[in-house]
Amino acid sequence: MTSFIAQKEEQELLRFSTAGSVDDGKSTLIGRLLYDAKSLLDDQLSALEAKARVDGDQPDWALLTDGLKAEREQGITIDVAYRFFATPKRKFIIADTPGHEQYTRNMATGASTADLAIVLIDARHGVRTQSKRHAFIAALLGTPQLVVAVNKMDLVDYDQSVFEAIRRDFDHFVQQLGIRAPQYIPISALLGDNVVDHSESMSWYEGPSLLHFLESTPVGINRNLKELRFPVQYVSRPNQNFRGYSGQILSGIVRKGDEILVHPNQQRTTVESIVTYDGELEEAFAPMSVTLTLADELDISRGDMLVTPRHEAGVARDIEAIVVWMDHVPLQVNGTYTLKHTTRKTRALVEAIRYKVDVEEASQVEGQALALNEIGCLKLTTMQPLFFDAYQDNRKTGSFILIDEQTNLTVAAGMILKADQGGSDTLLANPVSAAERALYFNQKPLTLWLTGRVGAGQLAVAQAVERALFERGGYAYRLDQSAPRGLFRLAEDAALLNKAGLAAVVVDDFWQNPSREAARAQVGADAWFEVHLEASLGWAEANDESGFYEHVRGQRDHVDRAQQYQRTTATDADLTLNVEQLDVPELVASILAALETRGFLGRLRDEPA
């Protein structure tokens, strides 16, 4: 008995994704694989037969693989579904991805963890754009092995020339991309030819059956054992005497006594022990989850990375990456996102779209926007450095996701190509960019321009806003008329503060009535936010502490005229608030909320530590 169990425990794991256009026979193929691998459980099978009886037809294999109700109603699968089967040799995890046009996102998801991808082609239709697209995405996500299953061979009389023509077409396409040659297998998913057993109807085909290939293709071929990459996931301090660093080894091997290097502080130390629940180990390797203790007490925290000193990871804050956009809201150039890479989270700013990738044509095109299911090459700057490898060398340390700071959704999947501008060595030589400042201060430059009648309380509000921004970790500076200055000077000063990455809060109670358009132009529309504090003349006069109204009345008794010159309403304000109805804390809260909505301020809870 034990030998039987032991044998099963030694099974290897192969993950593969499947893609095909609607009706190419993907569900049929998966259903058959599951069935033939004898993993179809009896009652699922009887449910299948019950449905088939109702439909009055032969068993519909696709019913085995359908998922959620809404999808069933539409008669189409729209999300990645994971399925499992095992043979005596291997255990398989299938990421079954829908082939419909708009679901690049699902295909990328399925391919991200796959060792192998099966692309289905209907023999009758030949190589269509969709099949190329499926192969392209699988390859883009670094799937090491591609299998092209030419299906429905029974419908073309098992004709070898049909198969060869498809192989030629597809090879041509694959060569263009510069990726490894796929394995081509002619099959009939419906009748089972070359699915498990070699088909008698296609004696001209000498290669392996699909299942045989899945069972024998080497797994873990892209597992890198050379360079240790161990991102610290959790610092374990159960008591005073133990300090361990827990994490999953992404690549490489670590041995007791090995010298390691710690990113980012670049210190070296040696591995004292490899601790596991099952006892200490002499060596551990990818993808094991272990806990390491080190010879020296260094300041190491989550997100740091332990690496082989001879093969350091790339360290950079400016990177170039291919990104698959996955959200309905398009990418914002100059927008900031939370970037998650290994166990590290940092803010990232999208500086530019270098080019877009046209999946249909497998070509590089110009473009300044990235919408749902589009792919592009971005230049990104991160607030903290990333410790990475190029995606093609290491899928684990080369991948990241982008998270929208407002909606918390995962909006993009990224694959790092390289450090931009040669990495950290040349960092000193580069001037600090606006983007870097924005990331550092965790705020976008902003000029908050407060207008209203004299006595409407701009100064009190400005002080309170300045304080509120300061308390939440922002950098703000208030500009008012304590030193009498012209409107234009104020705007100039605000613009300078903005350039330095700071927020300017400007008190504007000039009773003359010049246009604010000039100030806005000076500051720049991107940073400008104008709030008008509304108050009636009576209220403003009653609350005026500057003596302005007294002065005017005493002088000329021409309050009418004063009123005429004051900014009583502002048609160009981004926000108008009535100061007679709200107290200062309420006014501040309204202003901050408006700034958040406009994306000037990050939401408090989500700021990375």
Partner: protein, 331 residues
């Protein structure tokens, strides 16, 4: 007409995929650096558990006393060794569990130094809620779903580990590992975040939470093999034994301690039975079996006759029963 105005197509520059390697690796993996599928699944699950503890403020592990819970606990112990499991276990108790489950639960959590919390929908229990008078769905709604949501809310938990697996049921095949729930604990199949590589997005707002399924990629056989490999203790009900059962139309319900004996029609027999999954006594049937060891259970698994959940009465209502319950907040 349109073709005539369209500009002549420009020849795109040859494009090479920079994210993919064009060469086959020169050597395959040496044998000593191969990891069996169980160890690989184990490493991935540990990674998930540590990630949640690192990124969430107040995680909890839902503990059902079943075999998957036992495995989940072992993985948590491995994740934090030599430290203690740094979060509590929450058992949603319907009051209808088998006596063996209660004694196992108390002993297991005590021996393993686990912080066990038990939550019950007390008002519903006082009202005598049961599946015979209310129907299975309504009873589950009160004693499981409502109790679970209330229990999570009462503890202020922002992440809850569960033992669900993708191979259990069709609608679970698409479940994420981090399953996002709104403020009402509800699951929206249309609003789940894509999960790529092993990069999980745990960003939530105040009041929202996630359910986490570290066993997503395990199959029932994997669970049994792991129990055998690791020698993990499980409730004795999983092993075949002569039991007095009521044969209620094919479903075998043990009579011992059964609170609704008078409600069932059918002959009482003595049969060698075991449980493939454990639930409430009124709604979980046993199967005929000779398997008295984990090894024998695994062997039986290879000649499976019924899928795991089929001996639970609760799923028979309709094809979409599970999906509906999930939307409402059940696991």
């Amino acid at each position: 007409m349109l073709e005539t105005i369209a500009p002549a197509q420009e020849q795109a520059p040859p494009f090479r995929l920079l994210t993919a390697k064009n060469q086959a690796p020169s050597r395959t993996l040496p044998d000593r650096y191969r990891l069996s599928h169980l160890r690989q699944l184990e490493a991935e699950s540990i990674h998930i558990i540590r990630e949640v503890v690192s990124e969430f403020e107040k995680p909890v592990m839902l503990y059902s006393v079943g075999k998957d819970s036992s495995v989940l606990v072992r993985l948590a112990q491995k994740a934090f060794f030599p430290g203690r499991v740094p979060f509590p276990l929450l058992h949603i108790d319907t009051g209808y569990k088998y006596q063996e489950m209660y004694s196992f639960r108390d002993q297991f959590t005590k021996e393993n130094d686990l912080d066990l919390r038990v939550y019950t929908n007390q008002p519903a229990v006082k009202d005598g809620t049961n599946p015979y008078d209310l129907g299975t769905a309504a009873c589950c709604g009160q004693l499981k779903t409502k109790a679970l949501l209330d229990g999570l809310a009462a503890g202020g938990y922002d992440a809850a580990f569960g033992g669900a697996r993708r191979d259990e049921e069709k609608s679970r095949a698409k479940e994420r590992i981090y399953s996002f729930r709104d403020r009402f604990g509800q699951w929206d199949p249309k609003n789940q975040r894509p999960e790529l590589w092993s990069l999980f997005n745990g960003h939530i707002r105040e009041g929202e939470s996630i359910r986490v399924f570290p066993l997503s990629n395990w199959t029932e056989i994997d669970i049994w093999q792991y129990i055998e490999l690791e020698n993990i203790p499980i409730v004795p009900l999983y092993f075949a034994q002569e039991r007095e059962v009521i044969d209620a139309g094919g479903t075998l319900i043990p009579v011992d301690n059964f609170p609704f004996r008078d409600r069932l029609r059918g002959p009482i027999k003595t049969v060698k039975t075991r449980f493939r999954s454990l639930g409430c006594s009124p709604c979980t049937g046993a199967i005929r079996s000779e398997a008295t060891t984990v090894g024998e259970i695994i062997k039986e698994m290879f000649q499976v006759r019924t899928s795991e959940r089929a001996n639970r009465v609760i799923d028979h209502a309709s094809d979409d029963a599970m999906e509906r319950k999930k939307r409402e907040g059940y696991f």
